[in-house]
Structure formats: C-alpha cells, structure tokens
Symmetry: C2
Subunit: 315 residues, 2 copies
C-alpha cells in the first residue's frame, strides 16, 4: 500500500516526483482515489484554473513562460499542464518540457507536465480534469492548462477552466480558425500576440467584429482583447490584469460557483459513464459489442435486444 | 396491447398514420420494441440510407423533392426524414412538410416526417436512427435524411447514412462552412446547386482544392462533385448516377458492411448508455447529480466518491 498522506505531504513541499506519481494514480483510476481526495480536502477547489489555447506558432509556450514568471514574482505556486490532443506521447515528455520551460525547470514552485491522448481510458479531458485536481490539491494557486492547436478537443479542455485565454497572432487567419472551432464562444480573454507585426489592428478588429455578433446579457462578461509581444515580455501585465478582472467578475457574480458546479457535474457523469463503459468493455467475450453489432448490421438481431444483452451483463 | 403485426402490416401497405405511430413507439423506447424489431426482421437493414446536408438556402428541399420524384419514377418507395437540430418542434410539423413536399403529399409510396431535438431522451441522432430503422423495416427502399444547417449535430446525423450528400451553392461561403463543421470529411458526393449562378466554377475549384489536401488510400472512394439546378430539375440525373456509383462502391468493397457495423455498434452503445443515463437520472432524489456536483464544487466531496454513490444506486 502506498503511504498517501506521505506522498501528498511531499507533493505539497514541491517534490515533482510525488506530484507526478499522484497524477498517474488518479489518471489510472487507482484504488486509493478516495484516500487521495480526502488528503486534498477542499484544497482541490482552491486554484484558479486558466485555460490557454491557440494555433501552433502563435507563441503559447512563450506566453505560458511569461505568465509563470509573473505568478512566481507574486510568490504564487503554479502548475502547468501542456495538453496535446494530437500527440501519442504522454507524461514522460520531460525533455521537451525542460527545453520549453527552461526558465522554470528548477523552481520548486512550478510544476510542469505534458499530457497527450495516449492511455487515458476516460479520455484526455477527464485525465486533464484529474491532473488539475491533483495540482490544486497539492497547493498550486494557479493551474495553467495549455492546449496545442485549435479544435474540438481543445474547446472541450478549455471548458474545464475558470478563465480561458485564446491566443491569436496577426495575419495567421486565426480569427477564422477560432470561429471554426467554436473557440470564440469560450474565450474570456483574447491575447493578440506578436503585436509588433503588421496586421495587428486588423486582427483586433476581426475579433471585435465577431464579438459584436454575439448577444450578451447586461452585466455579463465581455471578453477582453489584449495585445502582447511575449518574446519581449511586453503586454504581460495587461494579460495579468485581464485575468484578475475576470477572476473578480467570476467571484462577484457567482459565476465561479456556477461554472464549477457544471464542471463537477460533467466530471461525475464522465466518471460514472467511464466506469460503466469499462463494464461494457469487460463483457467482450461471449457477447462482445463487436459481435452484436455485426449481427445487427446483418439484420440477424435488433439493436434493442443487443442493448438488453449488454445491459443484463452489466447488472 | 397494441397489435404490432397489424400495425406493421398497415405501415407496409403505405398507411402514413401507422408509420408515424411506429416511429413514435420506437422513439419513446416503448415496451413493444423487440416485437416491432421482430416484425421488421432483416428488412430493417435493406434500405439505402442517404444523408443530405447543407446550409439554409442552398436548396435542400428542392433537391429532396427532385430526388423523391426520381426514385418514384423508378417505382421505389422512399422515406424522408427532415431533421432540424435547432428546431424545438417535432413530429407534427405536418403543414410545413405538406407545403415543402406538395408534389408528393398524397403519394403512398412516399413518407415524410419532420424531426427536431425536442423530447428525444437519447438525443436526436438516436431518434433519427430509430426512425430510419422503422422506415426501412416497413419497406422503404431509400431513406433520405435531410438535415437543416451545417454543424456538429448535422455531421453526427450524416454519419448515420450509407451515402452522404453535401449541398453547396456558389458565392455563399459554404465551402468554408463545410470545413468548419468537419463536413468535408463525411461527404461522399458534393452537389453544387444553383449552378446557373456566377461563381459556380470557383465553388467547384474550392471543393476540389480542399479534397486535394486529404489523403486517400488506393481504391478508396473519391467524392464526386456534381453541378445541379434543382429548381429546373437540371443535374438530378447526374446526382442519381453518383449515388448509384457510390452504392455499388460500398457494396463491392465491403465498405457497406463496415459502415453498418460501425453504425450498429454506435447504436447499441448509445442505447445502453441512454438506458444507463436514464437510471442515473432516476436517482434524482436523495442523491441527485446536481446535489453531488454542488458538494464537489464546494470542496465538500470528491468526484470519485460522488461517482461511486451514483453507481451504487444503479446496481
């Protein structure tokens, strides 16, 4: 048996191996889950979860690096989850992380982890939620979830966050990409990075034009549009201010509680359905889903009887 | 008790009320499901299921009307499901149907039904699958599933079909819309309607350019691009030829069986999960999901224990 309270204690003291081990345990749905959750207590809900997404090349790593510096300058602990839905590599992409985030590689107040779609039974979104919970539970004040790319998976992952930043760069057609992915609806703050390039004002206008199309209730948050040149650390203060404003808005309006209740409901339902799916999967034997589907497709069985057969096996 | 074999017999004879009643029974997961399925037998897999999707205004109703005429001219029975994911109205939108399809309103070889997202516990996609099954089961040779709009729901519904037609019109930016919705990947046949308008060649080029980006295995179906002016019944023969070619391809390559097995697996899994979800929903009492989510969001409960509580209630 693992000494859970010892592990959580070491993770709280900033030991990255202990954090990594806890995340792995939670991800693989270990038997000690309830014990881990008990050790975290209410801390698991304390962190400000910030989502960061945008197309490749807009400078997500650079912005992340700068935000980490800014939070560290405030003395706050920060966890970074770099999520790549298209990558088959997971967890151990340590070298990549070190190269990306070399400014912070040796800082015990910063924890960085790569996550990919490989090996997560319940899906990347569920695994990311679980990792966010661990980072918050071991004392991170801020958890930054960076997703690579702009797509449906990114939107799903971004929806875990309290505050979602969408990064764009001038002249990359990112605004259109953002509309494509439905990411416009989830953005709380737009950061137009590389604002020293031509076309920055057009990009800002594009965003504002698209926002004008959406309806907002009185008092509802209107997404901020902030310009930055992350490579020169310019505009980071403005980004931090926008994040703080959004946090205050969430807290003041009760939106934070609402978002987190929705997230918790989705999390619980995903866990329940994930476990039920596992039970369905474990039936692959005399009455596998594949066999049943083949019979249904051939007209030899109806789907209702097939579903009943699977369900009776779940009992 | 309902006389199922009598009902199925009347539906096979072309009585629209009997068809409607069977669809309603299947949709609401009636107790007689297995009996209905038994009455259909292997017929439920016989029809060629054609999906038709495209933005509002591209002429879907007109094309549908022309395709119905073409199939009727061949003496084939056809069912049409007009699916509107954004509409709150369902089933009974008879007047609308009559107006839309007045050429065929009194033809017993044609059955037309509107479907919307209202009142389908298992989702519109599951309800549509169920309705397709009924139409095939009562003897339709072709079932045409027309979705209004281009979005995620449409993609999901189109994935029910054996053959998917995507309708575009010149100068509407539909090609971009299609990319946005991921509809490009599911199209077997592109129909560029209103081909008498300016910009038709640009639209055709756009589609071909986008297709060139996708990789195809040798022998794999390469989507056809067909021009039509449905309002003048022009190009309908070409559309019918492309549909037939695709059907032959599906049949010859074993792709039909593969698609239908995948569809059946998705259908069974959706039924199983739908019933399990219903069980989760029926727990709303001492341990509702909402209550549990609220506790989790407040840090008073962990999601794993919450999931276990819900699961134990399902037993």
């Amino acid at each position: 048996m693992t000494d859970i309270s010892g592990l959580v204690g070491a993770a709280r003291d900033g030991d990255p191996r202990s954090v990594a081990r806890l995340i792995s345990m939670v991800e693989r749905d270990a038997a000690e889950l309830a014990e881990i959750a008990a050790a975290f207590g209410a801390d698991a809900q304390r962190a400000h979860v910030i989502g960061l997404t945008g197309s490749p090349g807009v400078g997500k790593s650079t912005i992340t690096n700068e935000l980490v510096s800014a939070y560290r300058a405030q003395g706050r602990r920060i966890g970074v989850l770099a999520v790549d839905p298209s990558s088959p590599f997971s967890g151990g992409a340590i070298l990549g992380d070190r190269v990306r985030m070399q400014d912070h590689a040796t800082d015990p107040g910063v924890y960085i982890r790569s996550m990919s779609s490989r090996g997560h039974l319940g899906g990347l979104s569920a695994a990311t939620t679980a990792a966010v919970r661990v980072l918050a539970g071991v004392g991170c004040d801020v958890v930054l979830v960076e997703t690579v790319g702009v797509g449906q998976a990114e939107v799903e992952i971004a929806s875990l966050a309290d505050t979602t930043l969408v990064l764009l760069a001038p002249g990359m057609g990112d605004a259109i990409q953002a509309v494509k992915a439905g990411i416009l609806e989830i953005a709380d703050i737009f950061v137009v990075n590389k604002a020293d390039r031509d076309g920055v004002d057009a990009t800002v206008r594009d965003i504002q034009g698209m926002m004008a199309l959406g309806e907002r209730a009185p008092g509802e948050w209107r997404p901020r549009v902030v310009k930055a040149v992350a490579s020169r650390a310019e505009g980071i203060d403005d980004v931090m201010t926008a994040i703080t404003e959004h946090w205050v808005y969430l807290d003041k309006t009760g939106e934070l509680r609402k978002r987190r209740e929705q997230r918790a409901a989705a999390e619980i339902e995903a866990l329940v359905l994930g476990r039920l799916r596992k039970r369905i999967g474990s039936l692959r034997g005399s009455h596998s889903l594949g066999e049943l589907a083949s019979k249904v497709a051939a007209g030899a069985l109806d789907p209702y009887t097939a579903a009943e057969e699977l369900l009776s096996g779940l009992g």
